[in-house]
Amino acid sequence: MNLRRWFLLPARVWMALSFAAPLAFVCGYAFLTRGDFGGVDRPWTLESFARLADPIYLGILWRSVWIAAAATASCVLLGFPLALFIARAGKRRNLYLQLVLLPFWTSFLVRTYAWLFILRETGLVNTILMGLHVIHSPIQLLYNDGAVLLGLVYNFLPFFVLPLYATLEKMDPLLLEAAADLGAKPRRVLWRVIVPLSAPGIAAGSVLVFIPCLGAYLTPDLLGGGKSIMLGNLIQNQFTTSRDWPFGSAASIVLMLTGALLLSALLRSRAARELL
């Protein structure tokens, strides 16, 4: 039994010092005052949290929630038919799953950069449209909420497809046959049998997409430019350029808590728990 304790020790220490302790620091910093030369100072205060209610920052919060929700909804609409197709693909299932996963495992930075390359003013889309004389001067496709949304959906779609596929794959085909035998048309089978039965997968996939989208930093930064600032960019800014650590910490806590609440709500359902 001793061996087990020794084996666990290095990982425990590493996680405590480089994951738990830093988070504890941020939780403490959120209640302190901004120092004169950056860093933090006393007195203890709730001012940073109060500032989050400022209309500018409420706007950023709202925009982050809105973009993350839109990305999640898009993933549900786009991903559901794909997951259904893969679950019904028989022997080719693994091949299709690989095809979903392979781009996901390649570099996140490169995947985002690829869209920068395609959408910029001298990029592929503008070049083609101008070559076809659809437009005469390049149109601005980047640096707006739409580009951020596209980047997020592109990057996180597999997070939705995988848990949903796992649910659909386990579904008993006899249930669908029974519904059809009893006279239900395919559309009715879809809405009355398949969708309700795959609810845990849809819920799990949605949470897995929403959480990283809400805290996204790289995608809004590269594809949204300065205009499309989201919560992640706000936090980064407070810890670098603005040097307001308490405020950045308060925003981090709000972000973490939102994610944790959503996840714990999801984990209440046993069916969803088994998917994660």
Partner: protein, 253 residues
């Protein structure tokens, strides 16, 4: 009829997932600086290889990814085995939490801790702070891969070794570890990729002398697109794709 539409749609969506990456690779061989095809050329690859900033950051990235993935694999494998012997809910919980914590939050909180520590020690951000951060986020990936393998491991094998008089360590070393070997290799490759690719956390905890390849690519991408970035990106895509395929094959063994 319905299922044919579903297949067409799914094919289109899968193509959408791959097309941007394929376009990037194709245009990295374009002779022109612009997005108009002017013929096949390796000039951007040549320019990438000769760029001192790129090669310097590549070396940094390789050192950081190498060291942190070895450490993460070692520590993570032992931890996964320990959890398999008897559950450690708090520790497992912290691993899962580290997976869902937004990178930007992990990054700024590590930065805050390091800066606090530097008030007492005469140190500054550098390669080692990046390694500390990378091991922290790689541990969860390693533990997941090893735990998956342990699920199909028969406890009685180890018990037999113990009954035959092996010490706990010897039973682990001679019986369990050989069984885990493919998963350990797979976990190492996965950690390598995850570490090599990280931009967000790295950019926050890296020092002036520890700029990594993603940091340079990011800076170049923001400055305006240079075809050299396309060439480097294509090389990364192909290398990562290969490593991940090997890793997945090892996991299925």
């Amino acid at each position: 009829m319905r299922s044919r539409w579903l297949a067409v749609y799914s094919g289109a969506l899968l193509a959408f997932l791959h097309a941007p990456l394929l376009v990037l690779i194709v245009f990295s061989f374009n002779a022109s600086r612009f997005t108009v095809w002017e013929g096949f050329s390796l000039r951007w690859y040549g320019a990438a290889v000769n760029d001192p900033q790129l090669s310097e950051s590549l070396v940094n990235s390789l050192i950081i990814a190498g060291v942190s993935s070895v450490l993460a694999t070692l520590i993570g494998t032992l931890a996964a085995y320990a959890i398999w012997r008897r559950a450690a809910p708090v520790f497992s919980g912290s691993l899962y939490l580290s997976l869902i914590t937004p990178e930007i939050v992990s990054g700024v909180s590590l930065l805050a801790l390091f800066q606090w520590f530097f008030r007492f020690a005469h140190l500054k951000l550098g390669m080692y702070t990046v390694v500390i951060a990378h091991v922290a986020f790689s541990l969860a990936y390693v533990a997941i891969v090893i735990s998956a393998r342990l699920k199909s491991y028969d406890r009685s094998l180890e018990e037999a070794a113990l009954d035959l008089g092996a010490t706990e360590w010897r039973a682990f070393r001679k019986v369990t570890l050989p069984f885990l070997a493919p998963a350990v290799a797979a976990a190492f490759l996965l950690a390598l990729v995850v570490s090599f690719d990280d931009y967000v956390i790295t950019s926050l905890v890296a020092g002036v002398d520890s700029e990594t390849l993603p940091m340079v690519i990011y800076a170049m991408a923001r400055r305006g697109v240079s075809p050299v970035v396309n060439a480097v990106s294509s090389l990364i895509l192909i290398a990562f794709g290969g490593i991940i395929l090997i890793s997945q094959r090892l996991q299925r063994q």
